[in-house]
């Protein structure tokens, strides 16, 4: 019985696996080979040494940006999804529901473009603040640096995480939450202590997906912020476009991979262990 179930499982997963293997793993091998091959052929870590020498700062920059963006996204998404599920004012919930998903539709490249004219020193945001009298024109600062990248990522990913989280929260047993409310717990407590722990797996799924997506986006760091320091995708593109240096670019790709593998493992350990394997 158990054996046949295993076979069935492998059979079911095979088509998806085949697609990824053919269109991703196989071509990836070429990249790995290129990353670990020296200029004269043969195994070498030279590409990694070069990647580290030139871009160590950008590795740290990338990790900091992506982690910060994920944390902020999670926080905002929890507030939104929590309000949507537990909010009592019909109008606020309705408005929020109509609003929060808009950026979800926007491709990254468009988001980047919106943001670079919105967040600039004399951009629409600062101009609006000045017009509303909230700020003096001289106080205006440009956000087109790491803050701009984080803002764009959060703006774009927050609806995604909130959508998944709101879905998970809506599927929870209302009775438990109501019981909590009836016992006198505030909505915040119900959210943090009762609801959130139950939807942790979904939150983690959403965050890990956001994490790796942010890692692989080129247009946002390229268009929103100046290039010193910058994210690894920009360095990869530069390595290829300026020098035709695929080895170092692929080495940077492998580093990106290790970072995302880290995130994936955290997810798999925490999320799935709690749910219990079937």
């Amino acid at each position: 019985m158990s054996l046949s179930q295993r076979q069935l499982a492998l059979l079911l997963i095979a088509p998806g696996f085949a697609l990824v293997a053919a269109l991703f793993l196989y071509p990836l091998c070429f990249s790995l080979v290129s990353a670990f091959t020296g200029p004269e052929g043969g195994f070498s870590l030279q590409a990694f040494a070069k990647a580290w020498e030139l871009y160590s700062g950008d590795v740290v920059f990338t990790v900091v940006i992506v982690v910060a963006s994920c944390l902020l996204t999670a926080l905002l998404a929890i507030v939104i999804a929590g309000t949507l599920t537990l909010g009592e004012n019909r109008y606020i919930v309705g408005t929020l529901r109509a609003l929060y998903r808009w950026p979800l539709f926007i491709p990254f490249i468009v988001a980047a473009q919106c943001m670079r004219t919105f967040l600039a020193k004399n951009g629409l945001m600062n101009n609006s603040f000045v017009a509303m009298g909230l700020m003096e024109p001289l106080q205006a600062v440009s956000f087109l640096d790491w803050r701009g990248i984080i803002a764009t990522f959060v703006w774009k990913q927050m609806p995604f995480v909130a959508l998944l989280l709101a879905g998970a929260l809506a599927a929870l047993d209302r009775a438990t939450l109501e019981a909590g409310r009836n016992l006198g717990a505030s909505r915040l407590r119900v959210l943090v202590e009762l609801a959130l722990p139950q939807v942790m797996p979904q939150l983690l799924v959403a965050l890990v997906l956001s994490f790796v997506t942010m890692l692989s986006v080129l247009s946002v760091p390229m268009m929103v912020a100046g290039s010193q320091p910058t994210m690894l995708t920009v360095d990869m593109a530069f390595r290829i476009n300026a020098y035709g240096d695929y080895a170092t670019a692929n080495a940077l790709g492998v580093i990106t991979y290790l970072i995302s593998a880290g995130a994936a493992i955290i997810y798999l350990k925490r999320g799935m262990a709690k749910e219990g394997t079937p």
Partner: protein, 276 residues
């Protein structure tokens, strides 16, 4: 009585605060999009003016000019996105079920495997994919583009489908089996409908991911297959804000329509669940 009035005042203040927070949120959410709309009708806009100097539809005419191919590209984009969703779901429903419900050897490895295409900045990958596709002669077909998009979007559909299946109450399945339903019947009439909202949600993301994709389309589709992001990419990278904004607004249309339709579907299902 006074305490009642106090509560009223307190809740009034809270309302006000909430409304203010909502307004600020709306500004940060909608502001950048408003910027997009402004740019799409700005014929001249430069310092020191805070708003466009002249408004007009010149660039709309340019995008929709007879030789422009915005609408055709849009149709191709949507068509590819729909096919991608079909392929991705066909692959991920069985895979998701296997991951969530069945005993699978090296399960976590499989999970990470589907994540990989999303994580690797992919120019290097697509060059090699193109090489293979040229050899078997499918480069430049919609089919090839759909395959590439599906591989890229598979992580959304597989992961979310797995989570959706995992969330289905096993007791319900057991109950169905107990009244004599076959495993397949149980799956199609109990498990799948219950997991449907999650699966639909995963479809949305595959759809949007496909609509947004540039690099893969370029390497395996161009020049025979042209999608809207290909037009958008040039315009946005080169700083042609008007054309890029208009293209982006066009891209919004299918997404919004799709989303409205999905929204209805999701709601009905969630409501049904509340009753059961």
């Amino acid at each position: 009585m006074t305490s009642y009035a106090m509560t009223r005042v307190a809740s009034g203040i809270r309302m006000l605060l909430a409304a203010f927070a909502l307004a600020a949120f709306a500004f940060f959410l909608i502001g950048p999009l408003l910027n997009l709309v402004l740019w799409s009708v700005a014929e001249r806009w430069y310092t020191p003016y805070k708003l466009p100097v002249t408004f007009g539809t010149r660039y709309w005419e340019q995008v929709f000019r007879p030789t422009g191919d915005a609408m055709a590209s849009l149709a191709t984009s949507v068509w590819i996105a729909v096919l991608t969703v079909i392929v991705a779901l066909a692959l991920s429903i069985p895979a998701g079920y296997a991951l969530a419900r069945l005993k699978l050897p090296v399960r976590s490895l499989f999970m990470i495997l589907f994540l990989l295409p999303q994580a690797f900045p992919s120019v290097a990958i697509y060059i090699n994919v193109a090489r293979v596709f040229y050899q078997i002669g499918i480069n430049g077909t919609v089919f090839a583009v759909v395959l590439v998009h599906a591989a890229h979007g598979l992580v959304y559909s597989v992961w979310i489908a797995a989570a959706a299946f995992a969330a289905v109450d096993k007791d319900l399945e057991l109950a169905a089996r107990n009244i004599g339903a076959s495993p397949l019947k149980t799956f199609t009439s109990v498990t799948l409908p219950l997991a449907a909202p999650g699966i639909v949600a995963s479809g949305i993301f595959v759809f949007l991911e496909s609509l947004d994709e540039f690099t893969g389309t370029f390497f395996v589709g161009v020049p025979q297959v042209t999608t809207l992001p290909l037009l958008l990419y040039n315009a946005a990278q080169g700083g042609n804000y008007q054309v890029a904004s208009i293209t982006a607004l066009i891209l919004l249309v299918p997404s919004v329509l799709f989303m409205l339709f999905i929204e209805r579907f999701l709601r009905a299902d969630v409501l049904a669940k509340v009753g059961s």
